[in-house]
């Protein structure tokens, strides 16, 4: 039995984070509440959610409690059948050589975020999407045997596949792990696309590379080398034992400035300009990528598959028990950071969706212009009402544009230090349990937190007056 006891120790302070995860772990095992949603009978046979026990005590009552809990779980699973009615059935056919599935008569709201329609009106689903939709009972997974080369539909044989069949179709453990993460996030409403899959309208934060001439690039590199040289020449003297004989430092910051030129630190892009610079530098360096797995959008109702815009997150899937994989090294992390192309949430100059339209590019023109051009084209074809609608939307957007509060510098600095800059999510697969970690670039080398002398003097003065 566990009763909430508060920790008072200095180091192991009580905290909501732990309790939450503990709860998470426990919740996973308590099916009685869910059972009531699925089956009334199961709920009736169960006691109110009790506390868990410390260890087996050999009593009948404990056995009974365990029996009930386990029955509730299995009843729930057995009673929850993946099915569709005959009326609303949608069949998806697995196509082995494409490792995709095709829906001949697609219908359903999932089409807003999943699949790609071809010219004949058939919908092609990625394998992840196929398994996911079958698993929810939204579509029926079929495999169709074709009778030789002559396509007389009468000779076709269709087999309704089972879940086990579907899972056996994953081509590797990695693909299956990725599916688990995909399904986990889909269930929560996120919209996911594989990172290597481009939408019809390709949006990027970066405008097409402006070809920097080789000469320019070389000068730039030379310059940066020069910077490093300069640094070491300067710092050399500070650390010589003659330093304090020759130089006199009249404030603490001067001392710090002498100290902080010794260890080099990686400067990461911190604003739009630096991001763009880093991108062109990267093109010059031809960095080899570690591919991220998914692009992820937060749930939203007007998502367009053709033209999804920049994703909100990028996710990398990693199986901790697979000896062929490893947690990324710093080298790899850097390469991953530099390959990111999403709504860089740290850019304080870009605050809302409207700004993102201005700050991302389609076909090398700002997305906003692109959308405008397209809607102008379609407006001539379509009714005026859509124009009105888009106009209304625009005004609505500009009116909701929130005013950013200007925080004092030290708070802003703290935020920079604690949230960092570019970031992506690692989804860690541990034999079916998934944890998520956010990795963010940070840059302590660009911040100074030493105690500023201003306040110091003020205090002194007040001191003297006393």
């Amino acid at each position: 039995m566990q009763f909430a006891g508060k920790k008072t120790d200095q180091v192991t302070t009580s905290n909501p984070g732990f309790e939450e995860e503990e709860e998470e772990e426990e919740l996973q095992q308590d099916w009685s509440q869910l059972a009531s949603l699925v089956s009334k009978n199961a709920a009736l046979s169960l006691p109110k959610r009790g506390e868990k026990d410390y260890e087996p005590d050999g009593t009948n009552l404990q056995d009974l409690l365990l029996y009930n809990a386990s029955k509730a779980m299995f009843d729930t699973i057995s009673d929850s059948i993946r099915d569709t009615t005959v009326k609303s059935e949608v069949r998806g056919y697995y196509v082995p050589h494409k490792h995709q599935a095709v829906l001949l008569k697609p219908k359903g709201s999932f089409m807003q975020t999943m699949g790609r329609a071809d010219s004949t009106g058939e919908l092609w689903l990625d394998f992840h999407e196929f398994v996911y939709l079958a698993e929810r009972g939204t579509i029926l997974p079929y495999y169709r045997l074709e009778a030789g080369s002559n396509k007389s539909s009468k000779h076709e044989t269709e087999i309704l596949l089972s879940m086990e069949d579907l899972y056996s179709l994953f081509s590797s453990q990695q693909e299956m792990d990725q599916y688990f993460v995909f399904a986990h996030l889909k269930r929560l409403g996120f919209i996911l696309k594989p990172s290597n899959q481009e939408a019809a309208v390709k949006t990027s934060f970066f405008p097409l590379k402006k070809q920097r001439s080789n000469l320019q690039a070389i000068t730039w590199r030379l310059l940066s080398l020069f910077k490093i040289q300069e640094l070491s020449l300067f710092s050399g003297f500070f650390y010589s034992k003659w330093n304090f004989f020759f130089r006199k430092y009249t404030t603490s910051p001067q001392l710090y400035q002498g100290l902080n030129r010794l260890v080099r630190s990686v400067a990461v892009p911190k604003n739009k300009k630096e991001l763009l610079d880093a991108q062109s530098d990267r093109e010059f360096q031809k960095v080899k990528d570690i591919p991220l797995t998914f692009k992820v959008w937060k749930p939203h109702s007007n998502f367009k598959k053709r033209d999804p815009g920049l994703p909100d997150f990028q996710v990398f899937v990693y199986n901790k028990n697979d000896d062929l994989q490893h947690f990324p090294t710093y080298k790899e992390l850097r390469s991953m950071f530099s390959s990111l192309d999403y709504k860089f949430e740290f850019l304080s100059e870009i605050e809302d969706d409207d700004d993102w339209e201005t700050n991302s590019y389609v076909e090398d023109i700002p997305r906003k212009e692109y959308i405008h051009k397209r809607s102008a084209k379609s407006q001539t074809e379509k009714s005026e009402s859509s124009m009105k609608a888009s106009f209304q939307k625009k005004t609505a957007q500009s009116s909701t544009k929130k005013k950013r509060k200007a925080y004092p510098p030290h708070i802003q600095q703290n935020r920079r230090l604690k949230t960092g800059y570019r970031s992506f999510i690692i989804a860690i697969m541990d034999n079916g349990l998934i944890s998520f970690v956010k990795m963010s670039e940070a840059d302590f080398g660009s911040e100074s937190v030493w105690y500023t002398p201003n306040t110091q003097k003020k205090v002194d003065q007040r001191w003297k007056k006393h």
């Binding site: 039995m1 009763f3 006891g5 008072t8 180091v11 302070t13 905290n15 984070g17 732990f18 006691p47 009790g50 005590d57 009593t59 009948n60 009552l61 986990h184 929560l188 996120f190 070491s232 710092s235 650390y239 330093n243 304090f244 130089r247 006199k248 430092y249 009249t250 001067q254 001392l255 710090y256 100290l259 902080n260 010794l262 260890v263 080099r264 630190s265 990686v266 749930p299 490893h326 947690f327 090294t329 710093y330 992390l333 850097r334 230090l417 960092g420 999510i425 860690i428 944890s435 998520f436 956010k438 990795m439 963010s440 670039e441 940070a442 302590f444 100074s448 937190v449 110091q456 205090v459």
Partner: protein, 377 residues
């Protein structure tokens, strides 16, 4: 005098090397003041008159200690360097023990220097002890209730009975806890009897004059010592001498690597104004404080890694959970050596530490648990 103001004065300087900040005022229309200023400028220096003496103790591992009371205090007051061996951080053992043994007739608050901290630390100790006792009481109470429950089960009680009992127990525990919380305030002010009790062991603490033996030293981490001799001339030994103490003359690069890496990280944060202290209690390398422990809790935990290293996931996850549990931010600090091992060891052996440390680059990545459900909108 408020505590905040005392601290402002006591910890006025963030480093043991002070800036020259006592120059007279320059009065533009008074050339004499210029002369005087120039004279004062000429006479003043940042360097210390008396460098801090360190001793090396230990058999297999080196422990670097400062034993002089004043110097211990100086290093603590000017940048929070070192840790008292018998204290949480600031070496307050002497004052604490004198008070405990009733050695000094002067009441605590009439003595200068460390007094306010000694007092708080003592009160803290007392409160901690009080809480500990209460926790034990609470656990006993809880164990009692659990036994009741087990008895009920053994008697073959019904689920409904159990639920009623559980409900009752929860309520009674809540009350118990509430009462305890009320008690804390009262007891914290009371004299703790057990504490003033003299133990047999304490006889060994006194010298022939009945004075307390100076048992506690301030211990410096090797990286702190290096900083205090190489970066700032504070200790009475040279960087070369320290290096010789830390590693044998014929050290290979792999021997010095982890020290050099730790130093580079330490220097990096120190030089940007952080107060850097050991993070061992959280299972990581360093804690970063703004200004120092009396002013703020540490907000960052730093773990150093080589830039091409990948650890088992559980390594990251268990540190991250301890760090996250203390509501701190977990920083992975990656270090890359930009020169070859041969060059590096050669620089070490020729005592060219400036060039050696300058050949390293650090980069940081924050590691944070991410909860999808909380990032949906």
């Amino acid at each position: 005098m408020s505590k905040g103001r005392v601290n402002q004065k006591r910890y006025k300087y963030p480093l043991p090397i002070h800036p020259v900040d006592d120059l007279p005022e320059l009065i533009l229309h008074n050339p004499l003041s210029w002369l005087y200023w120039a004279y004062r400028y000429y006479k003043s220096t940042n360097a210390l008159n008396d460098k801090v003496h360190v001793d090396f103790i230990g058999d297999t591992t080196l422990h670097i200690t400062v034993q002089d009371d004043k110097q211990m205090l100086y290093l603590w007051n000017n940048g929070f360097f070192g840790t008292g061996q018998f204290s949480r951080s600031e070496p307050t053992w002497k004052a604490r023990t004198e008070a405990r043994l009733g050695l000094n007739d002067t009441p605590l608050h009439n003595r200068g220097g460390t007094k306010s901290n000694t007092e708080t630390e003592m009160t803290l100790e007392k409160v901690t002890q009080q809480r500990r006792l209460q926790r034990l009481e609470f656990k006993k109470e809880r164990a009692k209730l659990e036994r009741e429950l087990l008895e009920l089960r053994k008697k073959g009680g019904h689920i409904d009975e159990e639920n009623i009992l559980l409900e009752k127990q929860r309520e009674s525990l809540r009350k118990f806890k509430l009462k305890q919380t009320e008690d804390v305030g009262i007891v914290a002010q009371q004299q703790d009897i057990s504490e003033s009790n003299l133990r047999d062991e304490d006889n060994n603490l006194l010298d022939e004059n009945g004075d307390l033996l100076p048992l506690e030293s301030l211990e410096l981490m090797p990286v702190e010592a290096m900083f205090l001799t190489f970066a700032l001339p504070v200790l009475d030994i040279s960087p070369a001498c320290l290096a010789g103490k830390l590693f044998q003359f014929d050290a290979k690069y792999k021997d010095i690597h982890s020290f050099v890496r730790s130093y580079v990280i330490y220097h990096h944060y120190r030089s940007h104004g952080w107060c850097v202290r050991s993070g061992i209690k959280f299972g990581c390398d360093y804690l970063l404080y703004k200004r120092g422990p009396p002013f703020q809790h540490a907000e960052f935990c730093v773990m150093g890694l080589d830039h091409d290293v990948s650890k088992d996931y559980t390594w990251y996850s268990s540190i991250a959970r301890v760090v996250g549990g203390a509501k701190k931010t977990f920083v992975l600090c990656y270090v890359e050596r930009l020169i070859s091992e041969q060059e590096a060891i050669a620089l070490w052996k020729s005592n060219n530490f400036t060039k050696l440390f300058n050949s390293f680059q650090v980069g940081e990545v924050l590691y944070k648990r991410w909860v999808p459900g909380r990032n949906r909108d």
